[in-house]
Amino acid sequence: MADASIGLWTVPLAVFGGAIRVSTPFLFVSLGECITERSGRINLGLEGTLVMGAMSAYGISYLSGSPWLGVLAAGVTGAMFGALHAGICSLPRVNDIAVGIALMLLGTGLAFFLGKPLIEPTAARLPAIDFGWWSDVPQLRAALRINVLFLIGVAIAPLLYWAFRTTRWGLLIRTAGESADAARAMGHSVLLIRLRATMVGGFLAGIGGSFLSLFYPGSWNEGLSSGQGITAVALVIFARWDPMLCLWTSLAFGGAAALGPALQSVGITSGYHLFNAAPYILTLAIMIITCSPKRTVTGAPAELSITR
């Protein structure tokens, strides 16, 4: 066993590697949800979008042989789910949280239905860049095999931060989220802004799903996503709707999620399931700490139903 050479160092290394690997879906979903929520709407259906994205990416990658085509397909599927969410929400008296729950169930069901024939075959997976070539320690090299999607996600976070602050689109989205009346008074259609924001959010969440099926864990099955989508939605609240904070919290969550498998790899198997629940417990704990009944959370878009 090569494990013996570095002993218990395996655990922090695996957590570090996991923080990079496991965090990618969290990162994409939370950045997508960040855009949607900034426009004043919450899409709880991203859990379903994530699973749908994973399934369609795997299917298209299997059929076409190109994983990148799969990533694109996942994004487009996600955008379509976003459009569906925004379309239903634009009807009068329809509650966006309830629609999100419905799309969570629909997305999961549809993905399981269409993905049934995909459980057996193996699709082309996304390549990884080897940043650990200089090291002799296999665990370190494994930890530093980084997927391009992660780098793209890391790049999107500051880009979004900048876009929210300085671009016209960023201002429009923020206006729709802070005061729909103000956006209307400026002559913009709030529904259209939110439709676009939800579609872009769905696109990113779909790509997050493609990472699950095409890189890590890297196969399609029905237990692929268990609540990563909903955790990421909660994470946006903790990140105070700030894309850069979304990046840091996603990394922290990835590390927490990697703790269970990491401990298992060094032979600590008792409490495996409890360690696997670490991200959910962490989310809940963080929400308990950051929320307050006396005031809305700092930085919350004023139109957001979840904080009112």
Partner: protein, 369 residues
């Protein structure tokens, strides 16, 4: 009432006036039946089209769905057996909805209720079956109730969104269940499927005489009727609805909103916990991962389709119990994946929510006003 209506009485006698009166009196009720009904038909049509694209005959689909759900005495029993936990998990969403809360964690409360009920049964081995059963009910209700009370308390005291917290608690409940059945509570004899020890055949709650439908259905019916009476015919229910309508008004008239929220959440979770106890005491006989069969999630749909009305939950739960009962037949006869039931449920959910936009907009139901 307007002069218009009075005039029509004078002009054309009693009949049109009775018509107007009927619509004005029952228009809202008709709406509550007609619109979800239309949404259901629309969803079935879309699902039929989806199945047609998939290469199967939608007419076969509808026939097998009907046959598998309500076609024979056997399928009726299957349907009613599945409706029992659905009524209870739907109450877990419908009761907090009276207070304006969206709780979607019924699945978690079900799992915790199953665990606590099983623990009670295992701790009381050797006692009279009736004692064990009563203890299981109490333990299941308390376990599930406290689980959802946690969401309610977080919302009330920390401002944590109850929808997200209740859903996160589902995953945590599942992790606790898996941990316990594979670790401390595991029956060493359960090799392939880690489970707790069995509660014992004598302690099972059995079937309603003459049927194979277990007594859980009666539990569900009683709970639904009790919830209806509680909400619409007691001061407590009135207070809850006032707080759900306008929380500031409720505070001004001196209602203790915290107490209302915590009590309602406890009752809601207690219902879902009871569903878990029933699944253990009437179906599985022990706790294992089979319990996470999605009753909690389908219950959310039942509650929304019933417009959060506890009495309406009963027929809707039977309907959706039927849909899930027909899943096996669809798999065998049409070769559809087992997830087709999930797809149909999702489509129904989307249609029901979209149909919310129709209320008060159907011309002939408005009457003359």
């Amino acid at each position: 009432m307007t002069t218009d209506a009075v005039e029509s009485v004078d002009a054309a006698g009693v009949v049109p006036a009775a018509d107007v009166g009927f619509l004005q009196r029952y228009g809202a009720t008709i709406e509550y039946i007609l619109i979800p009904g239309a949404a259901l038909v629309g969803a079935l049509a879309v699902f039929g089209a989806f199945i047609a694209i998939y290469g199967k005959n939608p007419l076969d689909l509808y026939f097998y769905m009907y046959y598998g759900a309500f076609g024979t005495w056997f399928s009726w029993q299957n349907t009613l057996t599945r409706a029992a936990p659905l009524i209870l998990t739907a109450l877990c969403t419908a009761l907090p909805a009276q207070l304006g809360m969206v709780i979607i964690g019924g699945e978690g409360a079900l799992l915790i209720g199953a665990l606590t009920a099983t623990s009670a049964a295992l701790a009381l081995q050797g006692a009279a079956p009736i004692v064990v059963q009563v203890a299981m009910v109490i333990a299941g209700v308390i376990g599930g109730g406290l689980w959802i009370t946690l969401s309610g308390a977080l919302r009330q005291y920390r401002g944590v969104n109850e929808t997200i917290s209740s859903l996160l608690l589902v995953y945590i409940a599942l992790a606790i269940l898996n941990h316990l059945v594979e670790g401390p509570m595991r029956d060493p004899a359960s090799l392939n499927k880690p489970s707790t020890r069995e509660i014992g055949a004598a302690n099972m709650i059995g079937s309603i005489p003459g049927t194979e439908v277990h007594w859980g259905l009666v539990f569900g019916l009683v709970a639904a009727v009790a919830a209806y009476v509680l909400i619409y015919h007691t001061t407590f229910g009135f207070a809850a609805r006032v707080a759900g309508g306008n929380i500031r008004a409720a505070k001004i008239v001196g209602l203790s909103v915290s107490k209302l929220i915590l009590t309602v959440c406890f009752l809601a979770g207690g219902c879902a916990g009871l569903a878990g106890m029933i699944e253990v005491a009437a179906v599985q006989g022990r706790t294992n991962a089979n319990l996470a069969a999605g009753y909690g999630f389908t219950g959310i749909l039942v509650a929304f389709l019933a417009r959060q009305n506890p009495l309406a939950i009963i027929p809707v739960a039977i309907l959706l119990g039927g849909i899930s009962a027909s899943g096996g037949l669809l798999q065998r006869r049409l070769g559809l994946p087992d997830a087709s039931v999930l797809v149909l449920q999702g489509i129904i959910f989307v249609f029901v929510l979209a149909s919310d936009a129709l209320y008060g907009r159907i011309g002939f139901l408005k009457g003359k006003s």
